[in-house]
Assembly symmetry: none
Homo-oligomer: 201 residues x 4
Amino acid sequence: MKPGTGESPNAARRSDTSRRAILRAAFDLAGEVGYGRLSIEGIAARAGVGKQTIYRWWPSKGAVLFDAFLLLAEDSGGSPALPDSGDLEADLVAVLRATVDELNDPRYDAPMRALNTEITHDPELARLYSERLDEPMRALKKDRLRSAQRIGELPADLDLDVAVDLIWGPLMNRWMLRSGGLTGDFAERIVAAALDGLRRR
Amino acid sequence: MKPGTGESPNAARRSDTSRRAILRAAFDLAGEVGYGRLSIEGIAARAGVGKQTIYRWWPSKGAVLFDAFLLLAEDSGGSPALPDSGDLEADLVAVLRATVDELNDPRYDAPMRALNTEITHDPELARLYSERLDEPMRALKKDRLRSAQRIGELPADLDLDVAVDLIWGPLMNRWMLRSGGLTGDFAERIVAAALDGLRRR
Amino acid sequence: MKPGTGESPNAARRSDTSRRAILRAAFDLAGEVGYGRLSIEGIAARAGVGKQTIYRWWPSKGAVLFDAFLLLAEDSGGSPALPDSGDLEADLVAVLRATVDELNDPRYDAPMRALNTEITHDPELARLYSERLDEPMRALKKDRLRSAQRIGELPADLDLDVAVDLIWGPLMNRWMLRSGGLTGDFAERIVAAALDGLRRR
Amino acid sequence: MKPGTGESPNAARRSDTSRRAILRAAFDLAGEVGYGRLSIEGIAARAGVGKQTIYRWWPSKGAVLFDAFLLLAEDSGGSPALPDSGDLEADLVAVLRATVDELNDPRYDAPMRALNTEITHDPELARLYSERLDEPMRALKKDRLRSAQRIGELPADLDLDVAVDLIWGPLMNRWMLRSGGLTGDFAERIVAAALDGLRRR
DNA sequence: ATGTAATCGAGACGGTACGTCCAGTCTTGAC
DNA sequence: GTCAAGACTGGACGTACCGTCTCGATTACAT
């Protein structure tokens, strides 16, 4: 897979060593110094690279960060399918618990916040993010839901996009705004509520 | 109500004119120039105020922005209770549709993104936000849900915090990440799904 | 005497410590690293000053250098009158020999070359230089020549500006272009030739 | 005649088209954008040439500029002898007036200032300049003075180098520093003063 | 005529410095 | 003591060039 942000200059001559050093430095620095102190200058220095090499290939700090996540996804061999034990609720709880653990790991929390911030303020980046990172993940999630539809656990006419948002939205929102503890228990409750609904029956 | 961010100097002598000018300028500038170009210097210049007056009373740009929202909430007379027609679903859809409209209004969208960004990267500010803005709103939301419990529309043992997150989380998450169209229709689907659950019954 | 390059901002609040540190650093660096490596950034670093403080008060690197020479002239109490022993030729030779020694001193050679280069390419700076440094020196030179006129050593109708150029011009030109050795002997010959003329009599 | 700056690589394969384009571009750009904005990159672009082609054949920007003047001198068929009407003063005035006109022509003024600046800061280039451009000119000037010696207009034991410096030095110095108007009248006065001497007789 | 070696235009690279903007601190004089 | 004003050190911005390097593609020489 190619870097996500479009390449105008003579990409054939591009130094892959520098590219990787930059993305690595961007991700690491985001984790170490935080979003506020994350600078192009710092990334260039850490990567042992001229600033121009960054400006030549990326339009913004956010684009670098985005590619850093993209590289991470590639290097980790892409995302595997969600577990499918036949019990949707158990599988979802397992996945969300893992997500909670990741979000609570400062090694990942800080860079993700940095990327999310950039996405928030850059619609073009948001589009790229949606297309390159969110959609593939969303597809895997929908696959699992479709499997549940197949065995009759979920209704056949369910709007899968709404379903995904209903399950993952509350978690991500609570993480971003720190509006409450981000625990496995919370994940469990959200899954249960999403599946069974709030309404009395 | 006093500004939200703790005040050490002699607050008695504080100029309310300057305070309001600063908060007004902060909110307006956030909307006009966006988060990236929002600067203390710019706020001071727009408010016709010395920079020191800002640094004297607020610890960070985010704190100013936070107080700007607080002022807005005060000036608009605080938040009224959620509508209670006896039909929970209809009321929630109405409220979420209004929220959608607000989030789609660039006049509010930009400052809210700016504030959210600051909250994301500043746990102390997140605490304040939670306490001063989110909790009061959340209380009103819970009041409406409790009313539904009283008439048996919702189960008595429902975890109201989870319920609120389930209803509002997907909306806010989609708004922040622009991961899909933010429409009244989406609001409607989310409410329906949240109330009835995804699971086939 | 005030700095030579016009001051627009609120000069009353100007830090004299920083001003002097900058001018000192500029002069010293010009001598140490040479014109080619003389940078605003380097001056600021050496002076322990923000770059903006230089940009706030001087329009160009040349203007800083110019003020550095101006400060030097002030601090050394201004230029004293040329010696007047009654023997014009001897006095001129003495003065030009001293000039030769100064021009051969690397401590002064490099900064002067730097300043001359800036003057060469900046007419406004050339005007300032002429007015603030060259003219006062030229006045002293003319005074000495006038004294010689008074005792009949020089004709009363002599064009003193041409005379000064004739005496000092060859020396400065040879220095700048290194078109020959810059020695006391050369100074002597120039003075003799200028006074007696080339023509056979 | 070969370019003035020594050539190590295989000069036989050198592209004369590129060489001329570079020198032409250097001279023209010096005149158009001035010394401060004259860059190797700009010369290469203007000449339609790779940067390496410049770095391969010249050690510095000044060397390129120097060769540009050398090419100019070659192309204009070298310098002709100075006029010799039998009246030294008249001939010198004519020559210096022509020089004044050239120095006042912005087409030549700017590149010459650029070259002089490089010479000022590069002793090796100064040596080359002296050897390749100044000496040949100086030889012509001395020839004219020798002719005057032959007819007894100038003393036989005159130091011709001092004489040349005395006549041309004041003019060049005034030009470089803009320390006064550069007019034909000034040239005339200098010639008269240089020939007759300042001293009363 | 054909290999081979150097030059060519092009342009990416690690860097330095530019001139600007802003952060956050400090000082001044008016109130 | 607070205020508007604004100078101060410091540091990042995004740009322009530096001088080096590598890439194919000519191009001219020696076989």
